[in-house]
């Protein structure tokens, strides 16, 4: 059982070196160390600067459209016959997902550091679109790395990025998905470190990225907490969010860490099922710590330390690691992690669309599926707050393909 003191310590993580307990840190080649130190200093200064905060808040309100609503999914809740399900509507943000909260923040950092070029990795393309969007707005050159397999799965987002003026580079190494896009983005950064700001899309990577991405995304949890109190007079019983790298989840969870009565459940991609090994669920399959992309975290690697290929129907969750703060929250027992399989996520995608007229991203559908699973086991006066991290327009092609429909 965690004491109030334990929770206060957890809320203060990471330490000065970027460690969340044994996780996190800064595991990069020497060429990047100076850039990371500079980023850390810039960030620590600006994050406390009222002018930076004002600019960030202004952009979130007038460009992104915040606060995003907290919506009571009454019909779905009634039908399931248990807990009341509330959806935090990050899908209504400009560009259609939570990703833009972070890219607005990092683009402001890029502006203050005077770098003329930004780069990013992307899986489903949501972070790539959000990066290309802020780059267009600030007149920055933008290169987005995307796995060849994801480019095929997310053709619509690829074209969106191109319309926004970004260069989309197809990554053909390794498994041709998010992890390889991130490798390539790191290679780009090491080569162009003088003029490029690397906008990481999730709460992972070397320190200070996991911290700053969390801080930028924590607007989700701060709003949700207030909205829930205002609408229901109490805090939610359960928080649910999908976890790939885990930025939408940590953004929702972090402001609730000290609310000990609030269960926090991260939902990973179970793919074809944890038992098949074909998944992207390092936490729920209890993977050992490993080191990839600049941080120590739970990592899917084989007994020789090679990173294992992952599978998920959703490109945005198709990643073998996870943000280090999630590994930490699991280890100390503050958050729980579970997995939802492809077919359960697809069912939730269709079901939420039919019952509420809200089409969730396949990533977010994992969290919805878990809500549909546990709501019937809970009381009608209890509350599940689901982070609906993105909208499903980008996935229509994937779902149609599964239905055998070719446009």
């Amino acid at each position: 059982m965690l004491t109030k003191e334990d929770l206060a310590i957890a809320k203060q993580m990471p330490d000065a070196g970027g460690h969340f307990g044994q996780f996190g840190g800064r595991y990069v080649s020497e060429t990047l160390m100076a850039a990371l130190q500079q980023l850390e200093q810039t960030y620590e200064k600006l994050w406390r600067d009222p002018q930076f905060q004002a600019e960030f808040d202004y952009d979130l309100a007038h460009y992104v459209g915040r606060p995003s609503p907290l919506y009571h999914a009454e019909r779905l809740s009634r039908e399931l016959g248990g807990a009341q399900i509330y959806l935090k509507r990050e899908d209504l943000n400009h560009t259609g997902a939570h990703k833009v909260n972070n890219t607005i923040g990092q683009a402001l950092l890029a502006k203050f550091t005077g770098k003329p070029r930004v780069s990013a990795e992307t899986g489903a393309g949501q972070h790539g679109v959000a990066t290309a969007t802020v780059a267009a707005r600030l007149g920055l050159e933008c290169t987005v790395y995307m796995g060849e397999e994801d480019i095929r799965r997310q053709a619509l987002n690829v074209y969106r990025m191109k319309l926004l003026g970004a260069e989309v580079v197809s990554v053909t190494s390794g498994t041709r998905t998010l992890k390889d896009a991130m490798n390539e983005a790191m290679r780009d950064w090491v080569t162009n470190v003088d003029n490029t700001f690397y906008i990481i899309g999730t709460a992972a990577g070397p320190h200070p990225y996991p911290k700053l991405v969390r801080d930028f995304q924590s607007i989700i949890g701060r709003e949700a907490r207030q909205q829930c109190l205002a609408q229901t007079g109490k805090l939610p019983d359960v928080l649910l969010a999908c976890v790939g790298g885990g930025s939408n989840a940590i953004g929702l969870f972090h402001p609730f860490i000290e609310d000990e009565g609030v269960r926090m459940i991260g939902v990973e991609a179970g793919g074809y099922g944890i038992e098949t090994g074909q998944h992207a669920a390092p936490l729920s399959s209890h993977c050992k710590p490993g080191v990839l992309h600049g941080n120590r975290t739970s990592l899917m690697s084989d007994e020789g330390g090679q990173v294992i290929g992952t599978h998920s129907v959703s490109a945005g969750l198709d990643y073998p690691g996870v943000g280090p703060e999630h590994s930490y929250l699991q280890e100390i027992g503050r958050a729980e992690y579970t997995a939802i399989n492809d077919d359960e996520a697809l069912h939730a995608f269709r079901h939420l669309t039919l019952t509420e007229g809200i089409m969730p991203a396949l990533e977010s559908s994992h969290a919805v599926a878990e809500a549909m699973k546990i709501a019937p086991t809970m009381g009608k006066d209890q509350i599940i707050l689901v982070n609906l991290s993105g909208r499903g327009d980008k996935d229509i092609h994937t779902v149609a393909e599964i239905d055998g429909i070719n446009f």
Binding site: G17, G25, R26, Y27, V28, S29, E30, T31, L32, M33, A34, A35, S173, G174, K179, D180, N183, M186, R187, V190, T191, N192, V193, D194, K288, P289, G290, V291, L292, H293, G294, R296, L299, S301, E303, G304, G305, Q306, V307
Partner: protein
């Protein structure tokens, strides 16, 4: 005195510089590596850097990425690489061998298991690209206890304070990365390298090897005039890739490149 330090001392007394070839262990197949290592020594290599194949070589360009993929296709694991070192040591007790790679295979094996196995195999040094000294306290302690040198990278972006810190943490030699970029990338600027080495030498007595961007006799010679060691990788790995279908030719062809560089350096 470690085998690496002894090697640099001997070279210094002869007025020569170290030639340090890099090849990925197990590329294109495990059976090629041992004869290749011996051929490199015969061609004039002073130290061998043996790459640990990794699925996600983030600091490497396409040439070494593909080498990792070829080696992994045949299942070359860290334990196999250590076996290759042990085999090499059976007939060569003088040439230092340094493993170069990424942390995860070592992390998964466990630092202390790795330290024990590496010592037993006769390994001399280890260079872990993604393990800066800030994260390496435990690792350094265990390697030191096993008499294995921990070699660190210095980069064009490394400022004075970090140069001091890194040189204090490392032993054997330091590896100066001559260009901002991945392995096998842009050509290097010798004058810039010379300037940086002058700064580095103010803070360490350790030999300084220079790598990244050395691709022919001329660049090897130019770097040998300012550095203590010349590290060459991608150009050798490229040759291995070319001959992946004629593996028996690999040791001779790769050693021909290093022999020519040796000559250019000793001229």
């Amino acid at each position: 005195m470690s085998r690496i330090t002894e090697c640099f001392n001997n070279l210094k007394s002869q007025g020569r510089k170290a030639l340090i070839p890099y090849v990925t262990a197990g590329d294109p197949e495990p059976k090629v590596t041992l004869p290749l290592m011996h051929a490199l020594v015969e061609s004039g290599a002073d130290i061998i850097e043996l790459g640990i194949p990794f699925s996600d070589p983030m600091a490497d360009g396409p040439v070494i990425q593909l080498a990792c993929e070829r080696a992994l296709l045949h299942g070359t694991r860290l334990v196999d690489v250590l076996d290759m070192v042990a085999e090499f040591r059976k007939t060569n007790q003088t040439t230092p061998v340094v493993l170069m790679g990424y942390l995860n295979p070592i992390e998964v094996m466990g630092y202390s298991v790795f330290a024990d196995k590496a010592k037993a195999a006769g390994l001399d040094g280890v260079l872990t690209v993604d393990l800066p000294p800030e994260e390496a306290n435990e690792f350094n302690r265990l390697m030191k206890a096993s008499d294995i040198d921990v070699i660190y990278l210095l980069a064009p972006t490394t400022e004075v304070e970090r140069v001091k810190k890194i040189c204090a943490a490392g032993s054997g030699y330091v590896y100066y990365v001559s260009v901002k970029g991945v392995t096998g990338s842009a050509s290097l600027n010798v004058a810039e390298v010379a300037e940086k080495l002058e700064m580095i030498r103010k803070y360490t007595d350790m030999p300084v090897g220079v790598g990244f961007g050395i691709r022919d006799d001329a660049s090897a010679r130019a770097i040998s005039q300012v550095a203590d060691g010349v590290i060459v990788g991608s150009v050798l790995v490229n040759k291995i890739a070319e001959l992946a279908g004629n593996q028996e030719q690999i040791p001779g062809a790769v050693a021909a490149i290093t022999a020519s560089m040796r000559q250019a350096m000793d001229k």
